[in-house]
Point group: D2
Chain length 140, copies 4
Amino acid sequence: MSSIRSRIEASFNAQGLMSTLGAELVHVEEGEVHILLHSDTKLSQQHGFAHAGAITSVLDSACGYAALTKAPEDHEVVTVEFKVNFVRPAVGQRFVAIGRVRTSGRTLTVCTGEVSVYMENQPTLVAIMQATIMHVRRDA
Amino acid sequence: MSSIRSRIEASFNAQGLMSTLGAELVHVEEGEVHILLHSDTKLSQQHGFAHAGAITSVLDSACGYAALTKAPEDHEVVTVEFKVNFVRPAVGQRFVAIGRVRTSGRTLTVCTGEVSVYMENQPTLVAIMQATIMHVRRDA
Amino acid sequence: MSSIRSRIEASFNAQGLMSTLGAELVHVEEGEVHILLHSDTKLSQQHGFAHAGAITSVLDSACGYAALTKAPEDHEVVTVEFKVNFVRPAVGQRFVAIGRVRTSGRTLTVCTGEVSVYMENQPTLVAIMQATIMHVRRDA
Amino acid sequence: MSSIRSRIEASFNAQGLMSTLGAELVHVEEGEVHILLHSDTKLSQQHGFAHAGAITSVLDSACGYAALTKAPEDHEVVTVEFKVNFVRPAVGQRFVAIGRVRTSGRTLTVCTGEVSVYMENQPTLVAIMQATIMHVRRDA
C-alpha cells in the first residue's frame, strides 16, 4: 500500500487544479481516498458558498484515486463519467470529499463519493457522486 | 433580454471560482449561455490536460445561467444534480462550454451542455452534461 | 409505519408494470424498501439475461417508495431523474432491489439503490442507482 | 447498413422484455434507432401513466442499438450506465424513443436519447437520457 500511496501523492501534487483550489490529500487506503477542501472566496459561486464545480473537482479526484488503488500496476485511470447530487448549499469552512470503490472490473471501476462539511467536528452531507472510471495502460 | 443579460453578468462576476479559473462569459441568449475557458497549468490534472473538475465547473455555470434565462423574475437557480461524460482528453488551448435549456417547468429546468475544444477554429467535443436545476424564490 | 406500509402496498399493487414484471414488494421500513424480481425469459435482453430496463424498473420503484416513507402525509412522489450503473451481467434467478433515502428535504429526496443477485443466499452486486425524487401535493 | 439493420432486428426480437412491453423497432439508420411503445395498463405506474421503468427500457434499447450501428463488426454492446430525466408525466397513447450516437471511440460510445409522446402527430418531450455503452468482442 505504501507504494500506491506515494504514487497517488505524486499524481495529486502534479494536478495544478488541486493546488489552485487549495485541496489537500489527507487519507489513502485500499479502495478509499479522502481530500480536504477549505472554504475560500476564490472557490465561491454568486452567493459566496463553495461552487458546485469546486465540490465536484475534489470528489472526482477522490473517486479517481480510490479507483487507482484497485487498478493493475501498469495502468492509469481516466474518468469516463460521473453524476453528482448537491443536497444542501455548500456553506461552512472545511469540506471533506471521500471516494470509495464499489466494484472494480478488468476495464471499469465504479465508485461512489460524498462531500460533507464539518462544523464543530460534525459532518453534514453536501453532495454525493456515482462515477465510472476506466483503466488505461500507462503507455497506451 | 438585456436585463437578464446584465443580471447574469453581475452574477457571473460574483462567482469567485469563475475568476479563479479564468473563465469568461461570452454569450447569453434566451435558453443558451456560452462560457470560454483557456487552458492553463493551474487547471490541469496529472497529465497536464484540463481537469474534469474545471471542465465541469464551466459547464455547470453555463447550464445554470441558461436555466436562469427561463426562470421567473424573482427566482434564483440552484443545481440539483448533473451528469457529465468526458469523451476525449481535454487537450487544447480554448474550451467553450455551452449550456442549453431542454425543458423548463414551474419548479425544475432540465439543461444539456457540451464542452468543445477549438483548434484552428474547428470544435471537437470533449464533454457532455445533462443537468437538473431548481428555481428558488430569491428571498426564500 | 404500518399506515405508510399499507399505503405503499396499495400503490405498488396499482402499478401495472410491477405485476407485468412479476415483481414483489418484500420489505418496507422508514427510509428503505426492498423489491424482489424473479428471472424470466419475458424480462430478457438478447442474451437471455435480465434486461437493464427490468432491473431499472424495480430499482426506480424501490427508491420512489423509500422516498415516500419520508414525504409529508398529503404528498405523492415522482421521479425527477436517476442514474444507474450496471456492474455485471444480470445472470441468476432472484434479484433484490433495495432503495434507501440518503437525504430528504422539503421538495426533493435523494436515494441510492442497488440490485443484487442471490445465488446460494450470497448477494452479488448487479447495479447501483442514484436518484432524485420530488414531493408533490396529492391534489396538485 | 442492411446487414446491421437485420442484425439489430434479430437482436431486438430476441429481447423478451421488448415483446413483453409490446415495443416495436421502427427505424434504424447509422447512429440512430427509433422504438415505438404503446400505452397500456400493463406498463403503468400507480396513477395509470407509463412507468419510468417502461420508458427507460425502450430508451436503453434505442441507445444500445444506435451504438451497435457504430461498433466493430465482431463486437456486441453492453450498457455501462445511463441517466434519465423525466420531464413530464408519461400520459398519452404512443411514445417514441430515439437513441442517437454522440461520439464513438474504440471501447466506449456515448449516446443521447429522448422519448416523446405523440398527440395528434405532435411530439411532446417526456424523458431524456445520456448513456455510456461499451463494445465487447462477441466471443469475449
